[in-house]
């Protein structure tokens, strides 16, 4: 997949809806993500966030409307080529239990027939990028901690250097300390790599830390779509409800720099 031009969004939802068995899981979504931007989809369970992600890599096709990746409708893309250009990270990694860490990370490069030396170099590089000791390469996922598994999941998604990354509650299953570490490292990584990122979470603090823009969803609809600084200032009732739900916590957990000026 070639890099998108600066003006064309990497991902675009054009009045996309998705219905299953008569239920509308997603309704009339209008949303776009530019290359280099991190969009956080914030919302409760059932808000349609995961459905939205699955429309991007064509695990689902929209019932009405279009979803475009790099200017082309997902329905027009070859599903295999589309998916190999999108890194996908889910909770607890979704790693193959019967593959070593190295084989898990090398998955897409292998099926893309990269030469062996390039694959090996890439795996080494990625382990370093996600902060894992290279000796873990020959271990199996069941021998790793949750945090380590998640890092492998991120490394695997990055392996073929896709221009788009989608993450579904990727840090949700981690303990608070590991989670905080992962968030900060991910943000640093994203600032270096400038991929088009959609990050799904139900945690406002995580959203405020990672996002350039936040899209709040509820019951299959997009409620607000704002740059992160404006989001926290918004008076929209649902936004307020979110902020209040998280405000029972000490102030340090709401990163100040995200509440005030542009970053």
């Amino acid at each position: 997949m070639t890099d998108a031009s600066t003006f064309e969004p990497a991902i675009e939802f054009d009045h996309a809806s998705f219905c299953l068995n008569g239920r509308a899981l997603l309704q009339d979504l209008v949303l776009s993500v530019q290359q280099g931007e991190t969009l956080v989809l914030l919302g409760r369970s059932g808000s349609g966030k995961t459905t939205t992600l699955k429309l991007i890599n064509r695990l689902l096709l929209p019932t009405t409307g279009d979803v475009r990746v790099n200017g082309r409708r997902t329905a027009d893309w070859d599903p295999i080529r589309l998916r190999r250009g999108i890194g996908y990270v889910i909770q607890d990694g979704g790693l193959f239990p019967h593959f070593t860490v190295e084989r898990n990370i090398a998955l897409v490069p292998r099926i893309e027939n990269w030469p062996r030396p390039r694959i090996e170099e890439r795996v080494r590089q990625l382990l370093a990028t996600v902060g894992l000791n290279v000796e873990l390469a020959s271990r199996y996922p069941s021998q790793l901690s949750g945090g380590q598994r998640q890092r492998v999941g991120v490394a695997r998604a990055l392996a073929a250097d896709p221009p788009i990354l989608i993450l579904d509650e990727a840090f949700g299953a981690l303990d608070p300390i590991t989670r905080s570490e992962m968030q900060k490292e991910f943000r640093a990584l994203q600032q270096r790599m400038r991929k088009a990122v959609i990050f799904v979470t139900h945690d406002l603090r995580e959203a405020l830390l990672l996002a350039d823009r936040i899209a709040l969803m509820e019951e299959g609809r997009l409620i607000v779509d704002l740059p992160v600084a404006e989001f926290s200032r918004s008076q929209h009732p649902l936004v307020r409800a979110y902020v209040e739900a998280f405000s029972g916590l000490p102030d340090e957990s709401l990163p100040d720099e995200r509440l005030s000026g542009p970053h």
């Binding site: 890599n57 295999i80 996908y88 239990p97």
Partner: protein
């Protein structure tokens, strides 16, 4: 004399019959696997077929074995040689465990893992061979084990239609009312079955542990 002495005295025949028995059961099991495993994979892809296929294999199993041999006798090419008929009948019986275990094994693979694989751009073929089959292999081999033991046991009846095997001794012993002869057939057959169960069982355990190799298992290198 006891049956061990009988076996020693007739050891060439014991050997021949044992070899025949292994051939009957072995070829039947392999045939059943060659048909059953792909069928099992097919019905995971086309769910509407699962009921008829599993149902069909089930019905075959309910037919009394001797009757199945009898039904197949008039068939043109098959009915001519006892061994061909026996192998076909045994293979038909061995189908159900193989189809069923392949189906169940693949369906029991964690759907999140399969979805992650699909999301990364694995083709259906790659998903099947690199993810689903390896993870289902423990259960599939369990089906193979059941099929093999079944085939070895049922092959004793093959002698009734002249297909040979250790059943020869059993039937002859029954006709002669001679326990030693019966045992000379029954004991080796039982030992064969136990052996197959043990060997394939070890393979099954090895493959099953691939699903989630624990640190301990890794270290003692099972």
């Amino acid at each position: 004399m006891n049956f061990l002495q009988f076996m020693m005295a007739n050891r060439q025949q014991v050997l021949d019959l044992t070899l025949e028995h292994i051939t009957l059961a072995g070829v039947a099991t392999v045939l059943a696997a060659l048909v059953g495993i792909p069928l099992g994979i097919l019905i995971t892809r086309i769910p509407q077929l699962s009921k008829p296929v599993l149902g069909g294999a089930n019905i075959i199993q309910t037919i009394p074995s001797l009757a199945l041999f009898g039904f197949l006798l008039p068939a043109p090419w098959i009915g001519e040689r006892g061994s061909r008929l026996a192998i076909l009948a045994l293979a038909l019986y061995a189908l159900l465990p193989l189809i069923r275990n392949t189906y169940a094994g693949i369906r029991s693979v964690d759907p999140a893992v399969v979805e992650a694989g699909r999301a990364m751009g694995l083709t259906d073929r790659q998903l099947l061979f690199q993810v689903e089959l390896p993870l289902a292999s423990g259960v599939i081999v369990a089906g193979l084990r059941i099929a093999a033991v079944l085939a070895i046991g049922l092959a004793t009846i093959a002698a009734a239609i002249g297909a040979g095997g250790l059943g020869e001794f059993i039937f002859r012993g029954l006709a002669m009312v001679n326990n030693q002869v019966i045992l000379a057939g029954a004991v080796p057959a039982a030992l064969l079955a136990l052996f197959a169960d043990f060997v394939i069982g070890r393979l099954e355990r090895r493959l099953g542990s691939l699903r989630s190799k624990s640190q301990f298992e890794q270290e003692i290198n099972i």
